[in-house]
């Protein structure tokens, strides 16, 4: 079932098209291993608008990570169309259009925190002074300025993940892709990072795609939630989150918040996520 989302109609203005950062049409991805074919994604169509925060939510095996990796050109679509900034994912990757935050921090243990953040800047050929300045700015932004000389293993898991977010932000991509970045963290740390991420997104105006299987996290962070179901992975429903733009953690107890969360839960149920 391909849900018609904000697919621009044929007569859409150029302005509307330009505001779409990621667009998928009837996307399918299958993996071949040992002669066995597994369909990870099927008939996925969706569009992600510039400046929005879109969460992909669903149970394990619903293909949400695969979709994110396809956007990042880390997986190849089997059929269908996928564009990032109007280009193929590969071109977009070559133009360094996005920053990616993995499930684990994936920091290089032999580099100090600061040098980890500078890694993409080195690769992109930025001058040393500018690199140091950027690293300082984004480490401050995630609240780790004073830890820049430490090494990854000297930090807690939550701090490491914040370093990896600073690293993804350091080259100021317009699109931030995050694959369950807080999945391995305890709930208290996670709350703090959610608040932090929300404020970061608000202040930078970037587009964010966020994979999670936490309903409160998705509702709290997102402007739009894409609910997915497994076997094969597809989109069940797209839910707009009509909460205030500026949110604090207390909003999670408001009736409006709970209403959206309820809708997400219903959609997950409709997708047989609880079977």
């Amino acid at each position: 079932m391909a849900v018609d989302l904000v697919m621009a109609p044929a007569a859409a203005s150029a302005r509307a098209a330009a505001s779409i950062v990621v667009e998928a049409a009837d996307l399918a991805i299958a993996f071949e291993s040992g002669g066995q074919r597994t369909t990870a994604l099927e008939g996925v169509s969706l569009a992600i608008n510039r400046g929005s925060f879109v969460s992909l939510i669903g149970p394990s095996g619903c293909g949400k990570t695969t979709l994110l990796r396809a956007i990042a050109d880390l997986e190849q679509p089997t059929s269908g169309r996928l564009t990032v900034n109007g280009m193929s994912p590969e071109r977009a990757r070559l133009e360094r259009a996005y920053g990616y935050v993995f499930q684990a921090p994936a920091l290089y243990p032999w580099r100090s925190v600061e040098r980890n953040v500078m890694l993409p800047l080195e690769i992109m050929g930025m001058a040393a002074a500018e690199r140091r300045q950027r690293a300082a700015r984004y480490l401050d932004l995630v609240g780790l300025g004073e830890f820049r000389r430490r090494f990854p293993w000297q930090l807690s898991g939550g701090m490491q993940q914040r370093v990896s977010i600073a690293r993804a932000l350091s080259f100021e991509p317009a699109l931030l892709l995050m694959d369950e970045p807080f999945g391995a963290l305890d709930e208290i740390t996670r709350d703090g990072l959610n608040l932090h991420l929300h404020q970061l997104w608000r202040s930078t105006g970037m587009t964010a795609v966020f994979v999670t299987h936490s309903i409160p996290e998705a509702v709290y962070l997102s402007t739009r939630i894409v609910v997915m179901s497994p076997r094969p992975g597809k989109v069940v429903e797209v839910i707009d989150v009509d909460l205030a733009a500026e949110r604090d953690l207390d909003i999670r107890e408001s009736p409006a918040f709970l209403r959206v969360a309820h809708r997400v839960r219903e959609a997950l149920r409709a997708g047989h996520s609880y079977d």
Partner: protein, 285 residues
């Protein structure tokens, strides 16, 4: 410090005791034969530890022999153990340098070129089934006939023995980055050279240093064995050989101890290099 040294020292003391007992026992016949007819048992027992050519020299005899052969002769003299050690160390170091270059080049090839991955690794393993230690003297003689003399044949044998741990360690090390660390580089669309320099190479260091320690001792063994054939004028291997010609067991044991000291020194040097890198990396390799 004392707590850490205690187990080490007690093993050392035990070894000494066993050694002295063995020396008395093994040299008893010799001492009896050489003793005066009216020698007391006590004199014979003491004589077992003071023979010129004992079957098994006592530790203090070896230490005295080392002392005199190190300090009582000028370094340029053929009697100087320092000279022999230096000759061997030079050949081993040169061999290790060859092994380092060869091992790393092979590993880089294997990790980056699929055909090499399929073909080369088997040959590298097969190369180590050649009993190079047994045929090393022959190889040196053959190389000598081909015009290769001096330090080079020795270095080649040392290199042949020691490139293996470096090559296998580096293959493992260059492949050690996990998929996420590699995907990260892909998201930056990093070039192959950048991935090598900023990910694979630094990740391999944790594998290079242990391999280097094994390789350093192997290089020493290779250099010593390559000095055994008649051609070698100097070196610990030559010293071992001439010692066994003339039944100079003290000289043999002094050379053996010197070889162990060299190996310890080599490993300590590698450790020092490693320490430098560890410092740079904030305390971990």
């Amino acid at each position: 410090m004392i707590r850490r040294a205690a187990p080490l020292l007690s093993v050392f003391a035990l070894l000494l005791v066993v050694w002295y007992v063995a020396a008395v026992w093994l040299n008893l016949d010799l001492a009896r034969t050489l003793a005066d007819d009216d020698a007391t048992p006590r004199q014979i027992w003491l004589a077992t530890l003071a023979q010129d050519r004992p079957l098994l020299p006592a530790p203090h005899q070896i230490i005295v022999e080392m002392w005199t052969s190190i300090f009582d002769h000028p370094v340029t003299s053929a009697k100087s153990l320092v000279l022999h050690a230096a000759v061997t160390a030079y050949a081993a170091a040169l061999g290790l340098a060859i092994a380092l270059v060869l091992g790393i080049v092979l590993a880089v090839g294997i990790v980056h070129v699929r055909t090499l991955d399929r073909s080369l690794m088997l040959w590298i393993i097969a190369s180590q089934t050649v009993p190079i230690l047994a045929i090393a003297p022959m190889v040196v003689v053959v190389l000598g006939n081909a015009g290769l003399t001096g330090v080079l044949p020795k270095a080649l044998i040392a290199g042949y023995l020691s490139f293996f741990p470096i090559a296998t360690g580096m293959v493992k090390g260059l492949r050690s980055p996990d998929p996420m660390q590699r995907d990260l580089m892909r998201t930056y669309s990093a070039s192959g050279v950048q991935v090598f320099a900023r990910l694979r190479w630094p990740a391999s260091m944790a594998f290079l240093f242990p391999a280097l320690k094994v390789a350093a001792t192997l290089a020493l063994v290779g250099a010593i064995v390559a000095e055994l054939p008649t051609g070698a004028q100097a070196g610990l291997g030559a010293r071992l050989l001439s010692g066994s010609y003339y039944g100079q067991t003290l000289q043999i044991w002094a050379a053996l101890f010197m070889a162990s000291l060299l190996a310890l020194l080599a490993v300590a040097l590698v450790d020092l290099l490693q320490l430098g890198l560890v410092r740079q990396r904030g305390g971990r390799l």
